[in-house]
C-alpha cells in the first residue's frame, strides 16, 4: 500500500495542487461575493487556507518511506560529489575494479577446482588408496599399487563398496585410410571403474567383466574430445574398429563430454588387463596402478582401510625380498586430483586477497583525504542538525558507490581474466568445470559490500567525530582538528605497506625459485638439443632384431643429416620425468637381511652415443659400444649416485647388478659410471642405471636426442620426415628441446610466480600512490607552518628533510611490520620453493631496497614542493 503511494507521490502532489487551486478559487469567489476587493479576497483566502506549500509538504512526507527517501537522496548527493572530483573517482573505481576483478577470478577458479565436488556420483565417498612404504626416503609415501595387490584387496576386503584400478598407457593411433598416425595418451581401467565413479555413458557401454582379461577381445572407449575430433561425433563409431598399436580395437562406448579424469590428455580407455600379461598381473612388486575405492555407506574410512592394511602387511611378510609395501595410505579423490595446484591456488588467492586489502586501504586513505577537504561541509551539516549516523551513512554511500562501480567493472574484467587464466595455465586440473555462476556472483557482491565497509567505515567514523566540528569554532585555522586524521592516514598507510612487503617478499621468493628451476643444472646439456619420442608396436616389430634394425637405421640417417653434431637414443631424457624405477641386488655383496630396504634405482636405456650427445660425463669405465647388442648385452652403466650409495668406495666396474625383470632375472656387468642427472627439475636426484638400447626387447618406447649446431627446432620437420620415410605408420610425439622440457616442469611455478609478482607490483604501485597522497596532504596541511619555519630562517633542504622524514616514517614502520610478518608467512610457501629458503636474505634485502626506493620516490615530489614554497605566499594563504 505505502509502496504504491511512494511511487505515485508525484501524481498525488499534482492532484493536491489542483485541489488547492480550486479551494482558493472558491474561497476567493465567496469573499468577492461578500463584497471584498479582489486584492482583499485573495489575501483573506490565503490567510484562511494557511501555507499551501506546507500542505504539499505534509502530504509529500505522508506519502514517503523515510529510509528509502534518505537513501535515494544520499545516493544522488554522493553521485554528484563523486562526479565533481572525476580524477579521484576514476582512480578509486579503477583500483577497486582491478582488485575485485582479480579476487573474483581467483575465487572462481579456486571454487571450481578445489571446492566443487567432483562430477561423480556421491564423490565424497571416493578415495584413492596407495601403497605406503615405511622407512624409505621421501617419494614412496603414496606409491602406485601393484596389480596383484589390487586384486587381493578387492577380493578380500569388505569395507569398500567396490575398488577399481587404472594405469597410464600410450598408443599409436593409426587411421584405416589416409589419416595421419598420432600418439594418443590412454588409460587402462578395470571393468568396474566407471561404475565405481558412477559415470553414465552418452553412447554405447562400458567394458564388461569378460573383456577385462588378458587375451580377451580388444575393446576401447573414446573420450568425447577424440570422438569429436577424429570421428566427427558420428554415433556410428560404436561397433567400429580403430587401430591402436596396429591392433584392431572395437569401440564400445564414448565417455561424456565433462569426463576429464585423470586428465584431459587421456583420449582412449582400454580394459585394465588388456595391456598386461598374466605374469604381470600376478606381480606384487610392479607398481604402476592407481586404485579408486568407493566407501560403503556408514562405514568409516579407518575401518575400511584397516582391512586393506592387514592384507598388505601379510603380502609384505610373504614377499620380504621384494619391494612390496608394508602399509597402505589413502586420500580423498578430490585431493588426489588437485594435489599439485592446491598450494599454488591458495597462495594466489591469498595474494589477491592481500591486494584487495591494499586496494581497500588505499581507497580508505583517499576518502580520509577527501574527508579532510570536506571537514567544513560535514561540520555545517552537523551544526544544522544532521545526526552522526546520518553523516556516517552519507559518507558510506560514497564508498558503496565507488565499490559497486568498481565491482561491476571488476566483474567484467574477471570474466576476461578467468578465461585467460584457464587458457594460460597448462595442466590446471578440472579446468573444464570453471565458469562464473550464481555462487561466484553472490560472493563477489559480498566482497563488494565488505570492501565498501572496509574502505568507507573508518574514514566516515573519523571524519564525523565530535572534534570535526571544531573547525567551525576557530574560523579557518584547522590544523589542530585534523591531527588525529593524519595519524589515521599514517596508520592505514603503514598497514598497506606492511601487506605490500609480505606480497613482495612472497613474490620474490617464488620468482627466485622459478629462476632457479629454469636454470637448474640437469647434469646434461640443454643447449641446442632436440628430443622426440616414438614407440614401436609389438605387433609390427615382433622380434628384437627388427627393433634394433629400425633404431640403427634411423640413427645412421640422422647422424648424417646436416647440422647434427651428435645423435643418441634413450628411453627418458633428464628432466622429462620419473620414467620408472627397479630394485636390484648386487650378487657380490652379502644378501640383504629380511626387512632391509632393497637397492632401488631409476632405470633408463641408452645407446652408445646417448651420453656424448647429452654431454653426460663418463667418470670411469666405458660407454656402450655397437657390439653390446642383443644377446651380448648384459652390461649396465650406473650413475655416480648409485656408486656412492651402494658401492661405498669399492670399484663397481666388473661387479654385477641382479635385476629381476618380470620373472626373467638377469645379471648385468657394470662397465661404466656416468655423472648424475636430475629426472625432473626441482626434484632431488636419484640413483640411475642405464641398460643398452641395442639389447632389443627391454622396452619399446624411445627418445631420440640430437645435439645440433644451431637452433634445434629447425630440424624437427626433417627428422620427422626421416622417420616417416622409414615407417609411414609410426607417429612421433613430444618434439621438444631440452629447454622446453625444463620449462614444462617449471610451468606451474612460473605461472604462480609471475602472477604473484604482478599482484605484488600492483600493490607496490598502490602503496606508492598512497604514500604520495598522504604526504601531499600533510604538506598542504602544514603549509602555514612551513612558511613560518622558512620565514624564521629554515633552509630549503631542511624543510625537504623534514617532510621526507614525515613521509618515510610510516613507510619504515610498515616495512618493519611487513618483514616481521613475512618471516612467519613465507614458511607456508615452503612447499612451492625450490633452491630458495623461506628467509632468503637476498630477497628480503632486495624487497627492502625496492620499497625504500619507491617510498622515497613517492615522497620526493611533495617534499620538494614543500621546500619550494614561497614563505610569503604560504603565510598569506590562510
Amino acid at each position: 500500500m505505502s509502496w504504491r503511494r511512494f511511487f505515485l507521490r508525484q501524481q498525488s502532489d499534482a492532484d493536491l495542487m489542483q485541489e488547492i487551486e480550486l479551494h482558493l478559487a472558491e474561497e476567493m469567489e465567496e469573499n468577492a461575493a461578500r463584497g471584498m476587493s479582489p486584492e482583499e479576497a485573495r489575501r483573506q483566502a490565503f490567510l484562511k487556507f494557511g501555507n499551501p506549500q506546507r500542505a504539499r509538504e505534509n502530504l509529500w512526507q505522508q506519502n514517503t518511506l523515510t529510509a528509502i527517501d534518505n537513501l535515494w537522496r544520499d545516493l544522488k548527493c554522493a553521485a554528484r560529489t563523486l562526479a565533481r572530483a572525476p580524477g579521484f573517482t576514476l582512480v578509486a573505481v579503477m583500483v577497486m575494479a582491478l582488485c575485485l576483478g582479480a579476487t573474483t577470478s581467483l575465487f572462481t577458479i579456486v571454487r571450481a577446482v578445489l571446492l566443487k565436488p567432483l562430477p561423480f556420483k556421491d564423490p565424497g565417498r571416493l578415495v584413492m588408496v596407495y601403497e605406503h612404504f615405511h622407512g624409505f626416503s621421501a617419494g614412496f609415501d603414496y606409491n602406485e599399487v601393484s596389480p596383484a595387490d589390487y586384486y587381493d584387496w578387492r577380493a578380500q576386503t569388505h569395507g569398500f563398496e567396490d575398488m577399481a584400478a587404472w594405469r597410464w598407457w600410450q598408443f599409436n593411433l593409426t587411421g584405416e585410410g589416409e589419416e595421419l598416425p598420432e600418439v594418443v595418451h590412454a588409460a587402462a581401467g578395470t571393468w568396474n571403474l566407471f561404475s565405481v565413479l558412477g559415470v553414465r555413458l552418452p553412447l554405447g557401454r562400458t567394458f564388461s567383466e569378460a573383456e577385462d582379461h588378458v587375451g580377451a577381445s580388444r575393446v576401447a572407449m573414446l573420450t568425447w574430445s577424440l570422438f569429436q575430433r577424429r570421428f566427427g561425433g558420428n554415433p556410428s563409431v560404436i561397433g567400429q574398429q580403430i587401430r591402436l598399436d596396429a591392433n584392431a580395437y572395437t569401440v564400445v562406448g564414448v565417455l561424456p563430454r565433462w569426463f576429464a579424469y585423470p586428465d584431459t590428455d587421456v583420449q582412449v580407455w582400454v580394459p585394465y588387463a588388456s595391456v598386461s600379461t598374466p605374469e604381470l598381473l600376478a606381480h606384487h612388486d610392479f607398481h604402476q596402478s592407481f586404485v579408486i575405492a568407493r566407501l560403503r555407506p556408514h562405514v568409516s574410512l579407518q575401518g575400511a582401510l584397516s582391512q586393506v592394511k592387514a592384507i598388505q602387511l601379510q603380502l609384505h611378510m610373504q614377499y620380504l625380498n621384494k619391494p612390496v609395501a608394508g602399509d597402505v595410505i589413502s586420500r580423498p579423490l578430490i585431493d588426489d586430483v588437485v594435489q599439485d595446484v592446491k598450494t599454488p591456488l591458495l597462495v594466489l588467492l591469498s595474494a589477491v586477497g592481500c591486494m584487495l586489502l591494499i586496494g581497500c586501504l588505499n581507497v580508505a586513505n583517499l576518502l580520509v583525504a577527501r574527508g579532510a577537504a570536506r571537514q567544513k561541509e560535514v561540520a555545517i551539516r552537523g551544526a544544522l542538525g544532521a545526526g552522526r549516523l546520518t553523516l556516517i551513512r552519507q559518507q558510506m554511500v560514497e564508498s558503496v558507490l565507488i565499490c559497486s562501480a568498481g565491482g561491476a567493472i571488476g566483474m567484467l574484467l574477471s570474466l576476461a581474466a578467468t578465461e585467460w587464466l584457464v587458457g594460460a595455465w597448462q595442466g590446471l586440473p578440472r579446468a573444464e568445470a570453471i565458469h562464473t555462476d550464481g555462487a561466484v556472483l553472490t560472493v563477489s557482491c559480498a566482497l563488494v559490500f565488505v570492501a565498501a565497509l572496509l574502505a568507507g567505515l573508518l574514514p566516515a567514523v573519523s571524519s564525523t567525530h565530535k572534534s570535526a566540528f571544531a573547525v567551525l569554532q576557530d574560523s579557518s585555522r584547522s590544523a589542530k582538528g585534523s591531527l588525529s586524521r593524519t595519524t589515521l592516514r599514517r596508520t592505514l598507510l603503514a598497514i598497506e605497506i606492511a601487506v605490500t612487503v609480505v606480497l613482495l617478499i612472497s613474490a620474490g621468493l617464488l620468482f627466485k625459485s622459478f629462476l632457479r628451476l629454469r636454470t637448474t643444472d640437469l647434469g646434461a646439456t640443454t643447449k641446442n638439443v632436440l628430443t622426440m619420442h616414438y614407440g614401436l608396436s609389438r605387433r609390427q616389430y615382433d622380434k628384437p632384431e627388427k627393433v634394433v634394425a629400425f633404431n640403427e637405421t634411423l640413427l645412421d640417417r640422422l647422424r648424417n643429416s646436416p647440422g647434427v653434431l651428435a645423435v643418441g637414443l634413450g628411453s627418458v631424457v633428464p628432466g622429462a620425468g620419473y620414467g620408472g624405477d627397479y630394485v636390484f641386488a648386487i650378487p657380490e655383496h652379502p644378501p640383504l637381511k629380511p626387512g632391509e630396504d632393497m637397492p632401488d634405482a631409476l632405470y633408463r636405456m641408452a645407446d652408445p652415443g646417448y651420453f656424448s650427445a647429452l654431454q653426460i660425463p663418463l667418470l670411469s669405465g666405458r660407454f656402450f659400444t655397437a657390439a653390446d647388442r642383443l644377446d651380448r648385452s648384459n652390461y649396465v652403466i650406473i650413475s655416480r649416485q648409485l656408486e656412492q650409495e651402494y658401492f661405498h668406495g669399492e670399484n663397481p666396474l666388473g661387479k654385477h647388478l641382479h635385476v629381476a625383470w618380470n620373472d626373467a632375472p638377469s645379471d648385468y656387468e657394470v662397465i661404466g659410471v656416468v655423472g648424475d642427472t636430475l629426472y625432473q627439475a626441482g626434484k632431488a636426484s636419484k640413483a640411475a642405471m642405464y641398460f643398452p638400447v641395442l639389447a632389443g626387447p627391454l622396452d619399446r618406447d624411445f627418445t631420440v636426442v640430437m645435439r645440433t649446431a644451431s637452433d634445434p627446432l629447425v630440424l624437427s620437420l626433417p627428422v620427422q620426415k626421416t622417420i616417416a620415410a622409414l615407417d609411414p605408420s609410426l607417429p612421433v610425439s613430444d618434439v621438444l628441446t631440452m629447454e622446453q622440457i625444463i620449462g614444462q616442469s617449471a610451468e606451474t611455478t612460473s605461472f604462480s610466480a609471475t602472477l604473484v609478482l604482478a599482484f605484488a607490483a600492483l600493490s607496490l604501485l598502490l602503496a606508492a600512490v598512497g604514500l604520495f597522497g598522504v604526504l601531499s596532504y600533510i604538506v598542504a596541511q602544514r603549509t602555514a607552518e612551513i612558511g613560518i619555519r622558512m620565514a624564521l630562517g629554515a633552509q630549503r633542504d631542511q624543510v625537504m628533510c623534514l617532510m621526507l622524514g614525515d613521509g618515510l616514517r610510516p613507510a619504515l614502520i610498515g616495512l618493519t611490520l611487513g618483514l616481521a610478518a613475512s618471516a612467519g608467512v613465507t614458511r607456508l610457501l615452503q612447499s612451492m620453493l625450490y633452491g630458495t629458503r623461506p628467509l632468503d636474505p637476498s630477497v628480503f634485502l632486495l624487497v627492502t631496497a625496492v620499497l625504500l626506493l619507491v617510498a622515497a620516490g613517492a615522497c620526493a615530489l611533495p617534499a620538494w614542493r614543500a621546500s619550494r614554497l614561497d614563505p610569503m605566499q604560504a603565510l598569506r594563504l590562510e
Partner: protein, 121 residues
Amino acid sequence: MAKKNQASAEMLKGTLDMMILRTLLTGDAHGHTIAKVIERTSEDVLEVEQGSLYPALHRLEDRGWVSSYWGASENNRKARFYRLTATGRKQLTLQVSRWRQMAQAIALVMGDKAWVEGGDE
C-alpha cells in the same frame, strides 16, 4: 488569531477524520465544501485549518474509507469529489461511539451531570 488557530487545531486532532466522514454522510463533496460544512455546522466555533484538510483527505482515501473522483463544482470548476465508502461508514460509526464514550467520561469527571443527561438523548 494565531492562538485561536492553535487551540482549535489541538482540539481537532484525531477528530478531524471523524468530522470529515460525518460530513460526507450527507453526500459527496469536494474539499472546500467539506471545510465550509464543518465550520458552519459548528457555528463557526471549529475553524478547520484548511491546509491540513487535504493531507487528511488523502490519508482517508489511502485507508479506503473514502474514494474520490473528478467532477465539476457548483461553479463549474474541475473539482475532486470525495465519497464515503462502506468501510468508511463502518469506521464512522465506530469513531462516533468511541467519541461519545470519551466525551461522556470527560463530562463525568468534570461533574457536569446536567450536560451529560442532556447530551445523551
